[in-house]
């Protein structure tokens, strides 16, 4: 799985969280949180609702500044959003610009980077093809289903040439079938593009199925209570993997941590 050959092939930089704490006023949400995401790794961060997963993700993405400790990418401490990191929000409806067609939505971050129009449209179209939406380039978000909108958001993060994909409960509000399809899509993208992926989720099955390593958050303020390396191989399968006895074992271990 996450062997040394992966690390050398991935273009992603190492993401390190050290002693991270975040509080709003007197309310402390995260405390002394330490975590390393190796290049090309697939990390799932799980925890019960309200534990502070989204706060952590905002700190990782540079949208929120840590109160203590630091987040660094490639050894450099970040204080604002990075070109290296592509973000996929939980609320896909709200994160696509409703006045832009799919292609414009995907190409928009590149426009911000000054990429010429023809070039950014070419990249955007290629990324839409990556998520199987090359035929929806001219549609508006409202014309797409929830799963398709989330795929557009993923394509946008890919087009941005992010080597670290940060996803906040990306499949939480989708129906089961769409959800499974998107899980496999993200696994396939990670395998092909050699990117690092960090998914925040409350769904333990999803976390174990996707990740090389599951990071369990718990407590108030929240901190890392367990890191479970998931040794289920690089290629996963919704039926085969999930019926593997080791899958069940991992799942129960994570579940036990969260229930504790």
């Amino acid at each position: 799985m996450n062997g040394p050959h992966m690390i050398t092939l991935s273009k992603a930089k190492r993401l390190e969280v050290s002693g991270l704490g975040k509080s709003y006023g007197t309310l402390s949400i995260l405390s002394n949180l330490t975590l390393t995401v190796e290049p090309g790794a697939f990390i799932c961060i799980v925890g019960p609702s309200g534990v502070g997963k989204t706060t952590l993700l905002r700190c990782l993405s540079g949208l929120a500044a840590p109160s203590e400790g630091s987040v660094s990418v490639g050894g450099i401490v970040i204080t604002e959003p990075q070109a290296e990191i592509g973000l996929v929000f939980q609320d896909y409806r709200g994160s696509l610009m409703p006045w832009m067609r799919t292609l414009e939505n995907v190409a928009f971050p590149l426009e911000g980077r000054g990429v010429p129009k023809a070039e950014r449209n070419r990249i955007a179209l290629a990324c839409l093809a990556d998520v199987g939406l090359e035929n929806a380039a001219e549609s508006y978000p409202w014309q797409l289903s929830g799963g398709m909108q989330q795929r557009v958001a993923i394509a946008r993060a890919l087009a941005y040439d992010a080597h670290i994909l940060l996803m906040d409960e990306p499949f939480g509000s989708l129906d089961a079938q769409t959800r499974l399809g998107l899980e496999d899509l993200v696994l396939a993208l990670r395998k092909r593009l050699k990117i690092s992926v960090i998914v925040v989720t409350h769904d333990i099955d999803e976390a174990v199925y996707l990740a090389d390593r599951v990071v369990v958050l718990a407590g108030k303020p929240a901190t890392v209570v367990d890191c479970v390396d998931i040794d289920l191989g690089y290629d996963r399968d919704q039926i085969r993997t999930k019926s593997d006895p080791r899958f069940v074992e991992y799942r129960n271990r994570v579940l036990g941590q969260i229930m504790a």
Binding site: S61, G62, L63, E80, P81, A83, I85, L87, F89, D91, R93, G94, S95, M97, P98, W99, M100, F108, P109, E111, G112, R113, Y140, P141, W142, Q143, R156, Y160
Partner: protein, 267 residues
């Protein structure tokens, strides 16, 4: 056959629902005033024939061009400045704090009260009219833009930040678009206000325009002409707001369809 007939009768019903009142009022006025000998209320048929005469051979086309030119120029400056200031005030809390008390005072001054001062200061050409229209229409556009900017979804703001969209591009492609429904609602109000001020501003120190036409004929006690001018202003107002509604629907097609698809109310 029955299907097309039913569709046809439904269309006729729709048209009837829209037009029954205007048509009834028109007929009532036409019939009710037909034998009028009252000096102040000439028969509608006379008003219409005067209107036709002055439109085809008289000064009305020129007056209309002058008035609409002033109104267009005034609205143009109002929208340009209103949107520009509204975006800045809405986006930056410091700008908002620094300007809010002043803005609240300035917008409480009734526009008509400024007309005499402006005419004394700027003379009797087009400049004072354009100035008054621009000044007054600035408020609904600016205030609505502020509201629109402040109502942007935090998700979109986060998205723009996460993808490091530069400020200028953010203003142009995110903030402006997010506020557009509110901005256009402000422009709609501004058009109605502009029409009023267009007429009022031409009552004083003017030598052309629809307001001038109405006022001039009133002073000559030419009641049919006065009525004709008034009727024309009303029709223009109606046409302008209908036209604008079309433009709004076109510019905001994404917005209305998005609202339809998600069941959001659009007001």
């Amino acid at each position: 056959m029955t299907k097309t007939r039913r569709a046809l009768s439904r269309r006729l019903l729709d048209i009837a629902a829209l037009w029954w009142l205007p048509v009834c009022l028109f007929l009532l006025w036409l019939v009710g005033s037909s034998g009028s000998t009252n000096f102040y209320f000439p028969p509608l048929s006379r008003i219409l024939s005067v209107l036709w005469r002055d439109l085809t051979t008289g000064s009305l086309p020129g007056d209309m061009a002058t008035s609409l030119g002033n109104m267009g120029a005034g609205l143009f400056f109002a929208v340009l400045l209103g949107v520009f200031c509204g975006l800045l005030i809405g986006e930056y809390a410091t700008v908002r704090r620094a300007l809010t008390p002043t803005l609240n005072f300035l917008r409480s001054v009734p526009p008509a009260a400024i007309v005499p001062i402006v005419i004394i200061a700027l003379g009797i050409g087009s400049a004072p009219k354009i100035f008054i229209i621009a000044l007054t229409c600035f408020w609904p556009v600016c205030l609505n833009t502020i509201d629109g900017v402040r109502g942007i979804s935090p998700q979109l703001v986060d998205t723009a930040r996460a993808f490091r969209i530069p400020r200028l591009l953010y203003f142009r492609r995110v903030l402006l678009m997010a506020a557009l429904p509110q901005i256009l609602a402000g422009v709609r109000i501004a058009i109605a206000v502009a029409l009023v001020l267009m007429v009022i501003s031409e009552f004083f120190g003017a030598s052309a325009g629809l307001g001038f036409y109405i006022n001039e004929n009133k002073q000559r006690f030419a009641m049919a002409e006065t009525w004709a001018g008034t009727l024309l202003v009303g029709l223009l107002g109606y046409l302008l707001s209908t036209l604008f509604l079309r433009i709004e629907r076109w510019l905001l097609a994404w917005y209305f369809q998005d609202a339809d698809a998600s069941g959001r109310a659009t007001g």
